[in-house]
């Protein structure tokens, strides 16, 4: 039996311990905001926070996070009011939107680590793929979120 707490709710899971956290979130717990993109931790569409740290859940066996606190896009804020989500709205970042849960989770975690990133910091540290090419707006939105978090 593996126990994880997702967005504040505890789940006891009878699954193979090597099952990636991504598929546990999507198919056992029913949280589909976290997306499958590559399965090899290359694209970041599956980014969630484990004990506050951003991880690519497609490549993390659920057995390795037994007892952990997991936050998914659904749990980032109760009302889409997290500064990163608000910045995403204001800058109209998403196009197809499929990568954006992962992007937002990656940015929310990164801004805790570096609350005042430069463009160069953003480019070097945020590595999630967006095939629609929302990068220009995404960069602007990161700055906007950083600014609003300082107020």
């Amino acid at each position: 039996m593996i126990t994880i707490t997702v967005n504040g709710t505890s789940h006891q899971l009878e699954v193979e311990s090597e099952t990636p956290l991504l598929w546990v979130l999507r198919e056992e717990i029913g949280l589909t905001g976290t997306k499958f993109g590559c399965g090899i931790a290359a694209c970041g569409a599956c980014t969630v926070h484990v004990n506050g740290t951003p991880i690519r859940s497609c490549s993390v066996p659920v057995g390795s996070v037994d007892g952990a606190q997991v936050t998914t896009i659904e749990g980032l804020s109760p009302d889409s009011k997290h500064p990163v989500q608000q910045a995403w709205l204001a800058e109209q970042v998403p196009q197809c939107g499929y990568c954006q849960s992962g992007q937002i989770m990656a940015v929310a975690a990164y801004l805790k680590e570096n609350p005042n990133p430069t463009d160069a910091d953003i480019d070097a540290n945020l590595t999630n793929i967006c095939r629609c090419g929302t990068y220009e707006r995404l960069r602007r939105a990161v700055h906007r979120a950083a600014a609003s978090m300082k107020i």
Partner: protein
């Protein structure tokens, strides 16, 4: 109509669940399922036939339903894959309907109804940058017609002439008396009104909403995980499928040894298709693991030894053949020998994959002669036909529940996954969700064709352009469209060039291999604009002219081209000096009735590392519906094309694709993404250009021309990652 259940997948859910709500008057966002505000689910989940809803008494026409509470439901006939037309098309209806945008709810139109009612929604296919171009007049007319019928219904109630009444913000007003009636009060009567004649539609000078930047309706759902994509669908009793098709194109399944997965947890059964194996399990992860453990024998077939080296030779050799003539102005054979200078070059482009962010997937249920399909598809009309064929039912018994797509770019125009999922559901007698792995998606694309082209251009001694000749060798993604040896897509942007040479010829040699082809964002144009704009740049340099001035000369007869060129040169700092190791390149191209130009600024360090620092875009699409989405599409299209020019290459060995995932098929990330500016240089008039694709077509030559400017090295083959640029700067 109210939603009665809240679990995605419930059979009780109304198809109206797929509703996105317009920006509210206060500037906030309201999300909602009709009657359940805030729930924010988004999916066409209903297994009841459309016919249940077609009888809605407030349905003014197929596009517009007005509820008693003034909610305006506007049906959307295209697919939303990120391009924003789920917002733009309802804006067009709203413009004419004179309704309150805050009360507009957009929902997908029914593919089943489109089939049953003889294309009442027109073409559901979403490609060719055509959603606005092809729908605008139709939607303006639908909105105007509904407005006039609402006015007529109000006038009848009041016993006044319709001409004494006006409509605004979802109300009809009798101007003299000031009496008003809400649309919601009039809808049922308006639905019965027959107009003597259809009203004229507005001209652009009369637009109030169209042309204004509006927040996209889908974005609130895409920041909190509530947007439902095909891969997120859950229906009752559903099982999961993982699939592997023959790694060699055209191969067949020979046999499967299932012993390795006997007794595996969750595995239900193995389904054999003629060219693929699927494992069915209670969870996707278990299905995928079991599939990987299976021992599968394939009959590879005729393409077993095909490889990229052969392909390259095939495409280049084809340039030695006479092609079908797509265009011939003047007499190239007579003019070329008279030229004082002749320049020649051969260019090549590789096979590339779409690599949409969401791998292909489909959920299907075949039950009692009826088929339901939940899928994010670019072409619900074709998905319906594929599903009917795979299930062996009549098309009118197929219901396509379209969802958001995690990118399309052309790949989702050919719904291979729909045929597979339906066949599997039929075989196992259960609803099934089929998900392709990233590797399956990469290795079973409908790829952009490989291509090669030979150019020749002749100039008089005084530098005057005399003759231009080109022959392209490319594969057809649509053999049914071939006429007289020509296929429209392979000659796009060549046969349609506006460059003014007195003698000009375009020839095409169609060259197909075992690789399955399909439309890739700006098909045809995305290679041909690279070829053409690179060679034009070569000619400018060879004849000692500035590339911007050279293009101005060849395009002097096109005021719209000049407007874009001049805007681009001004905004993009054309002609300003750059330090060593940096360069600026320009490209311009007309496609989908739009003209788009780009200036790329690049830098190359001593190791040969290339960085695209800045891209300035100027565009003339005539008019806009939602300028913000125009900008977003140009930015995003540019990045999509940038991935192709920097990295994009699918190679084949022993008949199979060698790449499998983003480790071997790299794409642009933030570190590769330039600072980007978009400047609209609209010329208005009758021009209504498409905007989803041009960005992808124009960036490649802007980058390679910038490399030339910085280094003197001309890039004639892609991707750039295969070129050694060290020591070039």
């Amino acid at each position: 109509m109210t939603a009665t259940a809240r679990t995605a997948g419930s059979q009780d859910l109304s198809r109206r669940q797929f509703i996105v709500t317009a920006l509210t008057a206060t500037g906030g966002f309201a999300l909602g399922i009709a009657g359940v505000p805030g729930l924010g689910q988004a999916a066409t989940l209903d297994v009841r036939p459309w016919g249940d809803e077609a009888a809605h008494s407030g349905e003014i026409n197929a596009w517009i339903v007005i509820e008693p509470d003034d909610t305006i439901i506007i049906r959307y006939s295209r697919a939303e894959m990120g391009q924003g037309s789920f917002t733009a098309l309802p804006m067009i209806v709203t413009e004419e309907l004179e309704c309150d945008w805050a009360k507009v709810k957009a929902e997908y139109a029914s593919a089943n109804r489109n089939f049953r009612e003889h294309k009442v929604y027109g073409n559901l296919g979403t490609g060719g940058s055509r959603a606005v171009r092809e729908n605008r007049v139709m939607l303006q007319q639908a909105g105007a017609s509904a407005r006039e019928r609402l006015i007529a219904a109000a006038a009848r109630r009041w016993g006044v002439a319709p001409g004494e009444c006006s409509a605004a913000m979802s109300k009809v007003t009798h101007d003299a008396s000031g009496r008003t009636l809400r649309y919601g009060e009039l809808a049922t009567e308006a639905a019965q009104v027959k107009l003597d004649k259809e009203p004229d539609i507005k001209t652009p000078d009369q637009y109030k909403l169209m042309g204004k930047s509006m927040a996209r309706l889908d974005i609130p759902l895409k920041i909190n995980g509530t947007a439902i994509y095909g891969i997120d669908i859950e229906v009752p009793d559903m099982v999961h499928a993982a699939i592997m098709a023959s790694p060699v194109f055209g191969g067949r399944l020979e046999s499967v040894d299932e012993s390795a997965i006997a007794g595996r947890r969750g595995v239900i059964q193995v389904v054999k298709l003629p060219d693929a194996v699927a494992v069915i399990a209670d969870r996707y992860w278990r299905a995928k693991g079991a599939l990987e453990a299976l021992a599968i024998a394939w009959d590879a077939g005729a393409a077993a030894t095909a490889d990229s080296t052969q392909f390259r030779k095939t495409y280049l050799d084809a340039l030695g053949k006479r092609g079908a003539v797509a265009r011939h102005d003047g007499d190239v054979d007579a003019a070329m020998p008279a030229a004082a200078k002749v320049f020649e070059a051969v260019y090549e482009a590789p096979i590339i994959a779409h690599a949409t962010m969401e791998p292909l997937n489909c959920t299907a249920q075949v039950r009692d002669g009826r088929v339901d399909v939940w899928v994010g598809t670019q072409n619900a009309d074709v998905a319906l036909q594929f599903a009917a064929q795979a299930a062996g039912v009549k098309p009118e018994n197929v219901y396509i529940h379209n969802t958001f797509s995690g990118g399309g770019f052309g790949r989702r125009l050919r719904p291979d996954e729909v045929a597979q999922a339906v066949a599997i559901s039929k075989a196992i007698g259960k609803p099934v969700k089929l998900v392709w792995s990233r590797e399956e998606d990469m290795r079973h694309g409908r790829y952009r064709t490989q291509a090669a082209i030979r150019f020749r251009a002749g100039f008089a001694a005084d530098g005057a352009p005399l003759a231009f000749d080109c022959r392209t060798s490319a594969g057809s993604a649509n053999p049914a469209a071939v006429k007289n040896g020509l296929e429209p897509q392979t000659i796009q942007g060549l046969a349609t060039t506006s460059y003014n040479f007195p003698n000009l010829r375009v020839e095409s040699v169609l060259t197909n291999t075992s690789v399955p082809l399909g439309p890739w964002r700006a098909p045809g144009h995305c290679q041909n604009a690279f070829f053409m704009e690179s060679f034009i740049d070569e000619l400018a340099h060879e004849t000692g002219q500035d590339p911007y001035e050279f293009r101005r000369g060849l395009l002097a007869h096109r005021a719209d081209f000049l407007h874009v060129l001049d805007t681009l040169a001004e905004k993009g700092d054309w002609g300003k000096p750059m330090p060593a190791g940096k360069g600026r390149g320009l490209a311009i191209h007309e496609c989908y009735d739009s003209i788009v130009g780009m200036i790329a600024e690049i830098s190359i360090n001593a190791r040969g590392d290339l960085k695209v620092d800045r891209v300035v875009i100027a565009a003339d699409c005539g008019h806009t519906v939602n300028p913000r989405t125009v900008e977003m599409q140009l930015e995003g299209g540019m990045i999509y094309g940038l991935s192709a020019v920097l990295f994009g290459e699918i190679t084949v060995k022993n008949g199979s694709v060698e790449q499998g995932n983003f480790d071997t098929y790299p794409v642009v990330r933030l570190k590769d993404a330039p600072k980007t500016e978009v400047h609209l240089a609209l010329t208005g008039g009758t021009k209504w250009g498409g905007i989803g694709e041009p960005g992808a077509a124009i960036i490649p030559a802007a980058v390679t021309n910038a490399i030339f400017a910085a280094t003197g090295k001309r890039i004639r083959g892609l991707p750039i990652k295969n070129q050694n640029l060290s020591g070039a700067a």
